[in-house]
Symmetry: C2
Subunit: 581 residues, 2 copies
């Protein structure tokens, strides 16, 4: 937060960095040096001279510590435009900023530290002695466009970490190290789950057989739970005329984030960025009576959004998002039961991942801002009912929920599920959203008991959300050690030597017939190497077979999570693994 102690220290450190850089690289031009969540950075233009590399960060850091230890004051001064221009005449980026301040009629302030002066509105520490020199370090260098615009010049950004004290810095460095080990892009590559192709394009992952198993198993798990609650699969194409989104209202808001499709004719199509408008058209394809409600559609289908190339990141941010989507069309009185059923689906799904534990998730009940009733569309009485029902469900289902006023969408209240991963990061994954707006926009109707035509309420729900983003979260959460039911390979059979290959093959066959996802290591590697490889692949069960096992139709089982389980008959292993699926 601005103006708190840590903010001032981080901000002051960015000036110390500029001092150190200017000392060693006098040709460097200064851009900007703001505070970020984990410390600070400063952007420099080193063109026309030497630029630092990662190896030079230590020296710069040493210099920063030296000047921080010199008890320098930070002094604020106000300059008029002319003075500022004169002072920064050799700093083109500062001049550009001065232009803007002047144009906006803003005050121009500088901070002086020793003989260094920076254009800056503050705030800073009063004196560098407030800076704990053990609690910061320079972390890395990256390129960054001036003002984030790729049409501008690429500058050099030097990042620093800075925390309250050395312990906090160490905790963060440890966290970062752990996060790097778990990076889903790294693990995805090691386990061979997905790939990108330059010919296909950025943000468009392709899934290998192993990655596809995980996708399919997740989708099937969700389907198998929600089919009990009357959900039926539908199928929609991936494009639609822009008129569909003009009707839904998405066109006006999101037109620039859509992929536009043109053929040789005049028709203009759009790649669907979401599924609800299409699903309304299936609802609208038949006469509906109150007896038919709720109508519940589910579909696992891919949406496309034109994310900026610079924002794409592994599976976390893609252009092709596959949603495990679901929509319920119902009467307002049915919202409670439907929401309750969806909570059950979410609970069962996340329980199977071990993620629905006390303190590992919480729920945001997002309701209207009572002070701004005009912000929300739809009948106030229906809003009252739906908010009340969602809160009742949250209570009855004993969800750890917080009621957050003003967080509702303009079209209805919602329940958002936030999950903590293994290293403490929080992710919004599942959601239940009430919608009073879209059914009316599409003129959806049902014939009610009283003979009158009424507009149904729509419920949007996601369990995993985007499968790609969900995968990025759980790959990192499990560090690739997927639960048995989710593991692309559940067991690998490792023959001790070539002499045991045919027995290993028969074990493999039996496992496959039982429905287990088993693999056979037919390589010519040593036993030690084969076991190491299987462990690197994070396979839940290693089944070693040699003379002893062959003689007694058994396998010797090494569990990834439970260590050595000794020798057991094949059937016993099959029974054991089938309980975990």
């Amino acid at each position: 937060m601005r103006n708190d102690n840590l903010y001032n220290i981080r901000h002051s450190l960015s000036h110390m960095l500029a001092i150190a850089v200017k000392k060693k690289y006098p040709h460097a031009k200064l851009a900007i040096g703001p505070v970020i969540d984990t410390g600070f950075y400063y952007d420099f233009d080193f063109s026309g001279g030497e630029a630092p590399a990662d190896k030079d960060l230590k020296d710069l850091q040493k210099q920063m510590k030296k000047s921080a230890s010199s008890n320098l004051d930070f002094k604020k001064e106000e300059l008029d435009e002319k003075e500022a221009r004169a002072f920064f005449k050799n700093e083109p980026y500062k001049l550009e900023l001065i232009d803007e301040f002047a144009k906006a009629g803003e005050k121009i302030t500088v901070y002086k530290t020793g003989d260094f002066t920076d254009l800056c509105e503050g705030p800073h520490v009063a004196n560098t002695k407030e800076i704990n020199t053990d609690a910061f370090e320079l972390s890395h260098i990256a390129g960054a466009y001036w003002r984030g615009d790729e049409k501008n010049k690429m500058l050099t950004r030097i990042y620093g970490l800075a925390f309250e004290n050395k312990e906090a810095l160490d905790v963060y460095k440890k966290f970062r190290e752990e996060a790097a080990k778990r990076d889903h892009r790294k693990i995805g590559k090691e386990l061979g789950l997905f790939t990108f192709s330059d010919l296909v394009g950025p943000g468009l992952p392709l899934f290998t057989p192993k990655g596809t198993i995980i996708r399919d198993v997740i989708a099937e798990k969700i389907r198998s739970i929600q089919i009990r609650f009357g959900y039926e699969r539908v199928w929609i194409p991936h494009i639609a005329k822009k008129e569909l989104y003009q009707t839904s209202g998405h066109w006006d808001k999101f037109r620039d984030d859509l992929f536009h499709v043109k053929g040789k004719g005049d028709a203009e199509f759009v790649m669907k960025p979401m599924n609800c408008p299409h699903h309304t058209q299936i609802y609208a394809s038949a006469q509906r009576s109150y007896k038919d409600l709720p109508v519940r559609f589910m579909e696992v289908t891919t949406n496309y959004r034109d994310e900026q190339p610079g924002e794409l990141l592994g599976l976390s941010r893609v252009r092709s998002l596959t949603q495990d989507d679901g929509h319920v069309f119902c009467a307002i009185g049915q919202v409670e039961t439907e929401a309750k059923n969806i909570v059950t689906v979410i609970r069962e799904f996340y329980t199977s991942l071990g993620m629905f534990e006390k303190d590992s998730y919480w729920v945001s009940l997002s309701v209207r801002d009572p002070k701004l009733p005009e912000k929300y569309l739809g009948d106030a009485k229906n809003w009252d009912t739906a908010e009340h029902m969602l809160e009742k469900v949250a209570k009855e289902e004993k969800l750890p929920y917080k009621r957050i006023e003003g967080e509702a969408a303009f079209y209805g209240p919602k329940l958002d599920f936030m999950f903590k991963d293994a290293i403490g990061r929080e992710w919004q994954l599942a959601t239940i959203q009430i919608d009073f707006n879209m059914p009316a926009r599409f003129g959806l109707e049902y014939n009610d008991k009283d003979g009158k035509k009424k507009t149904p309420v729509m419920i949007h729900r996601a369990v995993a959300g985007s499968i790609e983003r969900f995968l990025s979260v759980i790959i990192e959460h499990f560090a690739g050690n997927f639960p048995v039911w989710l593991a692309p390979v559940q067991a690998i059979i490792i023959p001790i030597s070539e002499a045991h290959l045919s027995y290993a093959q028969s074990v493999h066959e039996q496992l496959k017939i039982s429905g287990a996802r088993a693999m056979l290591d037919e390589s010519n590697e040593t036993l030690g190497k084969k076991i190491r490889n299987a462990k690197l692949q994070k396979i839940p069960y290693l089944l070693v077979v040699g003379d002893k096992e062959k003689a007694s139709l058994a396998v010797t089982v090494e569990s990834r999570d439970g260590g050595s389980l000794g020798q057991m008959p094949i059937e016993k292993f099959i029974q054991m693994i089938s309980l975990e699926k």
Copy 2:
């Protein structure tokens, strides 16, 4: 065929039609009157006067019969350009044709019949007495653009049927009537399988829960068979950079039939018109050894092609084609086994539909034209091997095949499977295609035993082909009476009166738990009406329950295909239906 007897009769009938039209509608301008598969048509411009409607066809037909019975001669004459222009000075369409003939230096001929003269190159019957006046009739009127170009004027096209004799005409009319009854657009609507939305766009069907069940059951049937042969599912996005298709070679040939995708950036994407190029990129994502081959990918995924609006037709011709696709990457020596396995998949799948019967299918073995070796890409020795292997498989699998020279694709030989539907139409559905070209274009490799890098052969295979087109074929083949394993609703429970509703519900629950797709009729209709409705829905089993059934925990079963099966315990019915799934 041109110049055969029937051709001449049909062609002459189009002139008789023009005579009849000119007599009744003297203001009509003549366009063209060609022969078609089932008879003939003539295009007229009636603007500026009265135009005939379907109800007027009888009169016109009567007039045609009358003049055909007048033993008129057809006499050919040659005119020079000037004579022709003078003669047809009031026929603007004929003048346009004369322009073209003159420009191309072609001879201008006319045919005279009585006092009617038409610009025409023939041939015709010598005399109208050759025309069997019982073997033709005018069938319908439609609009058609002059020269098929939508920028031109819309003309009135009058269609006529004409055959060798009355029997052949009646057979064809019967066939057409049967085809109309089976029209998949009509049945799809009656059974509520799919829908189109003006907001989504033409050629883009949306599938309801019932239609989606059929799609999913077909895909799952194919998957469940081919998983035995080592196929693994993969997943690819629906777009790619155009560079992917420039590399595959599709860009040059099909660029105009593709949907082009643009976002806000510079990247130009294309909606995938097929899956093979993407699948090569998954193959290329890992090092492959000869030990890893064959690599077999399968995926049910939707392709997009920019079909002209005028060519779109229900599910037969759509813009969104979902393929049950499969690709095998293997060594040339493995082609035989792989092709054999695919034949097994095709046999099992079509056997389950009752379509793999003697005389209900045949196979085209498409090989090179030996006279044009330069037409084909790839090593001639590999071609010899692959053609030989495909023929060997066809023989060993006892396929009724014809070897057709010159029908191979430029990239490899293939086996195409042709199936006859219930009313005798033939459809090319399954295919096995060898490809010597694409792996090389993408630089695919594997490390062979001898340590050398080699290029794999690719096999494209389809079992159902496009699911949408396949659905249009089988909906018409079965006239909506799907086999039990494919029926979206397999059984409906019909309580005799409201008093039996709760027993009916318990039967419904038991069936659902058993995995049967069962429905409960909870309407307030009479028993008779409920049974009629169920029959209209073509549901394989109607289970009527009343006091008697309730007392003995039984159902009274009426089979769609087998008539009344009497009363039986619920478990017995469940057992019976589970054998049909």
